[in-house]
């Protein structure tokens, strides 16, 4: 049952070492802005050829897990998501760091990531085949509505500056149109340039819009980067655990959202963390504190994005369809090793699969001590290094990281350009997240729309296609909820106050 007999196989000293190394390597790579989880896994795949299949898989899974967690470091300390799935971590992580609670934020992120990772892996272990069927029920139309949902979340998260948030989102959508169009393959907005043919690369834009303004400001102001209290307070583990316990429903809910979104191929950690952050904010008693350094925000985002690791493996292993880009690399490596994915994977290759899944559990658990240790060093380094060294070092890393994605100088130029644009926009109170989210969601929305339209017209049922399917209607309901809930809640609250006054 549940392949328990393979648990022992997974817990060998070799596997322990592999998982440990993998998690550490992944965390470090994920923390560096520009180096993504996909890159980390892709570079290390050839090493796994000489290993037995299960060990190689454990290593790749450990690297992937570590990298998704590592993205939180630069998100919290440098306001730059290390990977797109850490975007929502910046919302509260960076404010916490600015007021001196960076070490607490990192510890919270670690615990949340571990919880999320375990939940995702648990679903992978026990419920893969039925959940894979759920993933298949999502067609082009559902992806379209999901992307629209993501975009409306941008609006609701920018409550303070609704118009500016929406404008940012629209700019992001426009940027997503540059290059070869989704589906129709028309060339748009390249102004004849060869380099723009490849479109605007998301991670480069991410670094540009988030990190460059921070660097410019660091250079421009005399104060220290982050507030530092007198003595080091260690990990602040008891504090963090108390906060985690207080937020246990949040953690669980966010992990579930993360797992579920991870099951949908192509959805990604950014959507997962965004949706859970938004839900956490809506359901919390401390709604106003979100965005100003509320630990629950960090918990929501980090548990969701690590849950996508386990969730993403479900369609990868059961259907042979990669859930996220690192899954595509791992899938390729599996194929080369002769492992056929499919519903029979759990029976035909039970040894490999179950050993791998237990290895994933192992790596996630190991992430706790390792993550805390590495986090402490990261925090101390960023906080104590003088700005004169910090800024050039980070700038250098961002350039290398952006270049490494597509071996393209054009991406680096684009990053710097967008960085300057982002800095200017910052001064007018435009936040970078709506822009990046528009960029990411634009292609998903467009592709979903065009494909759904083609299918709808083929079956002479366009209206039914867009508005007639049960899952779509559910998503549309959530869209309406997220759009109107803040207004309704506020009106209700005002009415309550008015009644009390009388």
């Amino acid at each position: 049952m549940l392949g328990i007999e393979y648990l022992v196989d997974a817990l060998t000293p070799t596997h322990l070492l592999i998982a440990l190394l993998g998690v550490v390597a992944g965390t470090v790579i994920g923390a560096l802005p520009g180096l993504t989880a996909t890159m980390a896994v892709a570079v290390l795949v050839p090493f796994t050829f000489s290993m037995p299949t299960a060990s190689g898989l454990i290593m790749m899974g450990a690297i992937y897990t570590g990298a998704i967690y590592g993205g939180a470091y630069s998100a919290i300390l440098l306001n730059t998501p290390g990977t797109p799935s850490a975007i929502a971590t910046t919302f509260d992580g960076y404010p916490m760091a600015k007021r001196g609670d960076g070490d607490l934020a990192i510890t919270i992120a670690c615990i949340a990531s571990v919880v999320g990772g375990l939940v995702g892996a648990a679903f992978l272990l026990g419920l893969s085949p039925p959940l894979a069927k759920v993933a298949l029920a999502f067609g082009p139309v559902e992806y379209f509505w999901l992307a629209i949902f993501g975009l409306t979340l941008i609006a609701s998260l920018s409550e303070a500056n609704l118009v500016k948030g929406l404008a940012g989102g629209c700019l992001g959508l426009l940027l997503s149109c540059v290059g070869v169009a989704e589906v129709s393959a028309d060339i748009r907005l390249t102004f004849g340039s060869q380099t723009l043919l490849g479109g605007i690369e998301v991670v480069g834009a991410l670094i540009g819009l988030f990190c460059v303004p921070v660097l410019i400001d660091l250079v421009g102001t005399p104060e220290r980067h982050l507030k530092v209290t007198g003595e080091s307070r260690g990990f602040r583990l008891p504090e963090a655990l108390a906060i985690a316990w207080r937020g246990k429903f949040n953690l669980l809910r966010s992990s579930l959202i993360g797992t579920f979104v991870g099951i949908l191929p192509g959805a990604g950690g950014s959507i997962a963390s965004l949706v859970s952050y938004s839900e956490a904010r809506r359901a919390s008693k401390r709604t106003e504190r979100f965005g100003k350094g509320e630990p629950d925000g960090v918990q929501a985002s980090e548990s969701a994005n690590n849950a996508t690791v386990g969730g993403g493996f479900i369609p990868t292993l059961v259907l042979g369809i990669p859930g996220t880009p690192p899954d595509a690399v791992i899938l390729g490596a599996l194929l080369v090793q002769g492992v056929r994915t499919g519903p029979n994977l759990f029976t035909e290759h039970a040894a490999v699969v179950y050993t791998f899944i237990y290895g994933l559990f192992l790596a996630t658990v190991l992430m706790l001590p390792m993550g805390l240790l590495i986090g402490r060093y990261a925090y101390r380094t960023i906080v104590t290094v003088p700005k004169a060294m910090l800024v050039p070092a980070v700038a250098f890393m961002t350039i290398i990281g952006t270049y490494a994605i597509r071996n393209s100088i054009a991406d680096v130029v684009m990053m710097i350009l967008l960085g300057v644009v982002g800095w200017v926009l910052n001064r007018f109170d435009f936040s970078p997240s709506p822009i990046v989210l528009g960029l990411i969601l634009g292609s998903i929305a467009e592709r979903g729309f065009v494909q759904a339209w083609v299918l709808g017209t083929a079956t002479d049922n366009v209206a039914g296609m867009f508005f007639g399917r049960p899952i779509s209607l559910l998503i549309i309901f959530f869209i309406a909820l997220s759009l109107f809930y803040p207004l309704l809640a506020r009106r209700w609250r005002l009415k309550q106050e008015a009644m009390r006054v009388e």
């Binding site: 996909t38 892709a42 795949v45 050839p46 050829f49 993933a135 298949l136 029920a137 999502f138 067609g139 082009p140 290059g179 070869v180 989704e182 589906v183 129709s184 393959a185 060339i187 060869q194 043919l197 490849g198 479109g199 191929p265 192509g266 369609p315 259907l319 042979g320 369809i321 990669p322 880009p325 899954d327 595509a328 690399v329 899938l331 390729g332 490596a333 194929l335 080369v336 002769g338 056929r340 994915t341 499919g342 519903p343 029979n344 597509r406 071996n407 393209s408 592709r447 494909q451 083609v454 299918l455 017209t457 083929a458 079956t459």
Partner: protein, 319 residues
């Protein structure tokens, strides 16, 4: 042994002298070779390159370092290939029909004749794939449905103007039906739509049939003879449709790579190709191995250009 250090030193000096005066034919390759895939990771180009890695290492002692340069359906990579160093240590995956059809459609930054392929080592024949529980049991069932309900026969496939799309257009004409093609981001998404029932069938490759295993069935393959891995699947030719096509994959080098190096690299990869274990692995994954080397390249490309240009014009995707 009088003085091992001086012996070692002498040997080292001799080795260095050999390399210095040896010339490229002897020393190549003496460091890892950069193998750029102009698509994202996980696709057929990536997987077959990864199959080549261990064999190349075994035969020639150096690593193939795979990196990705996706964008524009491969165009971004191919447009930049000739600006890379032509010293034999940089090469890029190259595909047909993309490299013939793309430049005919619009300005994509390169022309077909700009590229220098040194080998085409496999192709994935087109195939019609249906879900295992699909009501279509034979190709005729599918064609009948297409005739009865024009437009309602929905196919998913990878991208527009790709091998999948061209095959769909050609077959529609041959069978006298009008089907609807839904372009997916890639084979992964195309498979997702097929398995999820969003479309009725899929124009894919034999490699898709292998990848999806028992979840799907192939109705026909676009090959001359049946695929050894799928002896029960008829060819389009057997069923009366003259359709032999697919996506070809190979390796190209920058234009500045000197002739002797091009020949040498071609021979090296042909050697990898001829390894029986390598061939078996590719065939297991549903590919059809071919051995087009540098010498045979001009004739092969000329033939492909002729066929694909005619096909593309007929399909209405180029003028």
């Amino acid at each position: 042994m009088r003085n091992p250090n001086s012996l070692a030193g002498g040997l080292l000096a001799a080795a260095v002298a050999a390399f210095a005066f040896g010339g490229p034919a002897v020393a190549f390759p003496d460091k890892p070779i950069s193998y750029i895939i102009p698509f994202g990771p996980g696709g057929e180009s990536d997987v077959t390159a990864r199959h080549q890695q261990p064999f190349f290492k075994k035969m020639f002692g150096q690593d193939l370092v795979i990196s990705y340069k996706p964008g524009g359906g491969g165009a971004v990579g191919w447009a930049q290939l000739n600006s890379l160093k032509g010293d034999g240590y940089t090469m890029m995956g190259v595909n047909l029909p993309h490299t013939v059809v793309q430049p005919l459609q619009k300005d994509v930054g390169y022309k077909t004749d700009d590229l220098v392929p040194i080998i085409y080592f496999h192709y994935t024949p087109d195939a019609i794939v249906v879900k295992a529980d699909s009501p279509f049991k034979t190709l005729e069932d599918l064609v009948d449905f297409g005739k009865k309900s024009p437009g309602k026969l929905t196919f998913s496939g990878s991208a527009k103007a790709s091998a999948n799309h061209i095959a769909q257009i050609r077959f529609d004409k041959m069978a006298g039906i009008k089907s609807t093609y839904v372009a997916a981001k890639g084979t992964g998404e195309s498979n997702q739509f097929l398995l999820g029932g969003q479309v009725l069938a899929s124009w894919g490759y034999t490699s898709v049939g292998a990848q999806l295993g028992a979840q799907a069935r192939m109705l026909a393959v676009a090959m001359d003879k049946r695929h050894p891995g799928f002896p029960n699947v008829p060819t389009f030719k057997e069923l009366g449709y003259d359709l032999i096509s697919g996506a070809y994959r190979g390796i190209a080098v920058p234009k500045t790579t000197p002739e002797p190096l091009r020949k040498q690299m071609s021979e090296m990869f042909i050697k990898v190709n001829k390894d029986p274990e390598f061939r078996k692995r590719l065939e297991n994954d549903g590919m059809a191995v071919i051995d087009v080397d540098y010498a045979g390249m001009p004739a092969f490309i000329a033939e492909q250009k002729k066929v694909l240009t005619a096909v593309a014009k007929e399909a209405g995707i180029v003028k």
